[in-house]
């Protein structure tokens, strides 16, 4: 997380004030939600497929050491070079060095959230290497100088009118119209030249197949293959949790990943990369490097956030999150936004910097309901809240308030007295049934009225009734 960012609440306020942002978010998430619902409805076995997917991920996580070594062995046998990175800095250093060793002037990149997580875009710029983002959305945000606001639709925060402005300023010749089809054609033309002239292509991986040593990428545009095939060197960066035992296990996960992400059954291109160009092959890179990245994952494996390692990065949780749909991805301030990001960002950036994220959730549970691998996101968010409370990161006023309330709530007689006094006091603030403004409850009454209590608590009235009955 960028320490220079304003606090979460300010970021959220700014996002809420941006009506264009809201329009952009609604346009994409609305479609995504409807398409996922249709895909699930058309797949009666979806719940069984989810259970299987979850079991596969749990199996891999429980035997991660075994599978990492198997993957390394098989990838090496295929001719790929396997590198290991403990953290983001080490991962950046490895990739940058590989690019410099290849004397790379131009690097094409196929969208990878792990690349964002380890700060690859900046590292390449710092090394003086031209980086060309080839995924359409990544191309858009590269032109805008932004970071992804969604893990599936990185440019979700931009309306087509805003995309048209960017393309008009940077595409030569500019697109002739601002409808998505015309703009996509314009990007196709501009990027086509770049693909064939790149020295290094960098991609991520949706799966690392242990028993073949292949990496698997799923994309819709075809940019991944155009990124990984022409350059002399192909570099894959992947988190260590991306392992699956075999291709068949990957297939089982693909069925739930794609439906949950875009509502499709498969992406247009499902690609398995296994080593560099073979003797006689018509095309392909001379070298393939795979960088396996930990960056907090072994810490999660050892602790209460292990279940988060099941995440297959489909983005369904954010598409269905009421908070994400109001503030968008950038307000979260981390690499990963939305519910899954609120679990991951404290791991990556530290709880002190990210304590708002697990708290800025209504705990409505819709994210867990749609999660294809059954991650109990609200439970994990609550675990962060628990740690935040234990580490005294919560504001003093809240701690004092909860503490005082608990002292009273633990004493029913005192509680009865306090609530009797409380509701009578509360009544004094309102009229005609409603309270429009209330000291210490500005968060409520700034936006909505508070029903005025009738003046006597239920318990008072109930006791009176009981006396009357006797």
């Amino acid at each position: 997380m960028n320490v220079a960012l304003p606090p979460f609440k300010e970021r959220a306020r700014a996002a809420l004030a941006d009506r264009t942002l809201k329009l952009a978010i609604d346009r994409t998430t609305g479609t995504a939600e409807a398409k996922r619902a249709a895909a699930v409805a058309a797949f009666p076995e979806f719940d069984a497929a989810r259970a299987r997917g979850r079991a596969i991920k749990d199996h891999v996580i429980a035997n991660l050491g075994h599978y990492l070594e198997m993957f390394e062995r098989n990838a090496t046998a295929s001719g790929a070079h396997v590198h290991w990175a403990v953290d983001d800095a080490e991962a950046r250093a490895i990739v940058t060095r590989l690019c410099l060793d290849a004397k790379a002037k131009v690097v094409t990149r196929s969208k990878s959230m792990l690349g964002e997580e380890i700060g690859l875009p900046h590292a390449l710029a710092d090394a003086g290497i031209e980086r060309v983002e080839t995924d359409l959305a990544e191309h858009i945000i590269q032109l805008a100088g932004e970071t992804p606001s969604h893990i599936i639709w990185p440019a979700m925060h931009r309306t087509r009118e805003q995309v048209a402005e960017l393309f008009n300023a940077s595409h030569q010749p500019p697109p002739e119209a601002d409808d998505p089809a015309t703009m996509v054609q314009s990007a196709r033309r501009v990027l086509r030249e770049k693909f064939l002239g790149a020295d290094v292509g960098i991609s991520g991986a949706n799966f690392l197949v242990a028993d073949t040593g292949a990496t698997c990428t799923v994309t819709n545009e075809g940019n991944a293959e155009l990124t990984t095939t022409p350059p002399r060197v192909h570099i894959v960066t992947a988190g260590i949790e991306k392992i699956v035992p075999s291709t068949a296990h990957a297939m089982a996960l693909l069925r739930i990943l794609v439906r949950s992400a875009t509502g499709g059954e498969l992406t247009q291109y499902t690609t398995f990369h296994c080593g560099p160009k073979r003797p006689g092959d018509a095309d392909g890179p001379e070298e393939m490097h795979i960088v396996l990245v930990d960056n907090g994952r072994t810490k999660m494996l050892a602790g209460e956030f292990r279940e988060m390692l099941r995440c297959i990065r489909c983005g369904a949780c954010m598409n269905h999150c009421v908070v994400y749909r109001q503030i968008g991805g950038h307000a979260y301030g981390g690499t990963y936004p939305g519910p899954m990001g609120s679990v991951l960002t404290p791991v990556l950036d530290g709880l002190a910097a990210a304590r708002d994220l697990p708290n800025a959730c209504t705990m409505n549970g819709r994210c867990a309901e749609v999660c294809p691998v059954g991650i109990p996101i609200p439970t994990l968010l609550r675990a962060w809240r628990r740690r935040s409370w234990r580490e005294r990161l919560e504001p003093g006023a809240l701690r004092a308030g909860i503490g005082l309330w608990a002292q009273v709530a633990y004493r029913p007689a005192l509680y009865r007295l306090a609530s009797r006094i409380g509701v009578r006091a509360l009544r004094a603030f309102g009229r005609d049934g409603w309270i429009g403004s209330l000291p210490l409850a500005g968060g409520w009454t700034a936006y909505r009225d508070l029903p005025r209590p009738s003046g006597r608590t239920f318990m008072e009235q109930y006791r009176d009734q009981q006396k009357g009955r006797k």
Partner: protein, 255 residues
């Protein structure tokens, strides 16, 4: 129920009903008695502890949980007019006390006999109201905890279907959170406001006379927003309608 012993129910009215809308508690007693239960309201109840639980304060939540379990575990059933508080007791408390050798089993047993009221009436008692009539149109919002943690969805609708002349209208996004979220709505009031604004628009869009739901917290949030917006929608807890008490003042109306 003849021949069988009358089931005893400990009613946990919830802190919000106690303070803000006692009518819901009386509607609960009426329905439970109509359904053949002997209802008691133990004095030792205060709150399920959600404000502390959702703030990460487990110690205070556990203390409240133990006290409440001790006061209620003698009943055949524990019933609440709130899916949210019931879910805290059914799922939160056993999780919280799982490591406590003296309380883990008690919390589990307690959870097993704790119910949200509409699901208790339908699933456990097989109750259906009779002779109720309300000439109005209404729409129903599914409160999240009840819906997702306790599976409360069909039961309130099945009960409401017995109210004569009541026209139920579908609410677009009926299963989408209203933005209440307990302490969330004051901690992150700007975001909460944006969410409840959309909810209010959806409710107004149905043109229904009444908004019904199963949780007073969500109802206060939505009713408060609707009133601020000048909407005419009247808001009731679903069991007030089921108990034939919707002829009285709605939430925010004075008697």
């Amino acid at each position: 129920m003849s021949g069988q012993p009358q089931p005893t129910v400990g009613l946990f009215v919830t802190c919000l009903v106690d303070a803000i809308r006692p009518q819901i508690g009386f509607a609960a007693i009426q329905l439970l008695e109509e359904a053949g239960c002997r209802v008691e309201v133990p004095e030792a109840q205060t709150c399920c502890g959600q404000p502390a639980f959702n703030s990460g304060d487990d110690r205070d939540t556990a203390r409240l949980a133990r006290q409440t379990i001790a006061a209620f575990e003698g009943f055949d059933h524990v019933v609440l007019p709130s899916g949210s508080c019931a879910a805290t007791m059914v799922h939160g408390w056993p999780e919280l006390l799982a490591g406590d050798p003296d309380w883990a089993a008690r919390a589990k047993a307690f959870a097993a006999k704790t119910h949200e009221i509409t699901s208790f009436l339908v699933d456990v008692l097989g109750y259906a109201p009779s002779g109720r009539r309300l000439a109005a149109s209404a729409t129903y919002h599914d409160s999240c905890s009840g819906l997702r943690e306790l599976g409360v969805a069909a039961q309130p609708r099945a009960l409401l279907a017995h109210v004569e002349a009541l026209e139920m209208r579908g609410l677009p996004g009926n299963d989408v959170c209203c933005g209440f979220g307990g302490t969330f709505c004051v901690k992150y009031s700007d975001i909460s406001n944006a969410i409840v604004t959309e909810k209010a628009e959806a409710i107004e869009g149905t043109g229904a006379d009444l908004l019904l739901a199963g949780d007073l917290g969500c109802l206060m949030n939505m009713a408060g927003k609707l009133h601020r917006r000048g909407a005419k929608t009247r808001c009731f807890h679903a069991i007030e309608v089921l108990a034939g008490r919707a002829d009285g003042p709605a939430i925010g109306e004075e008697a």
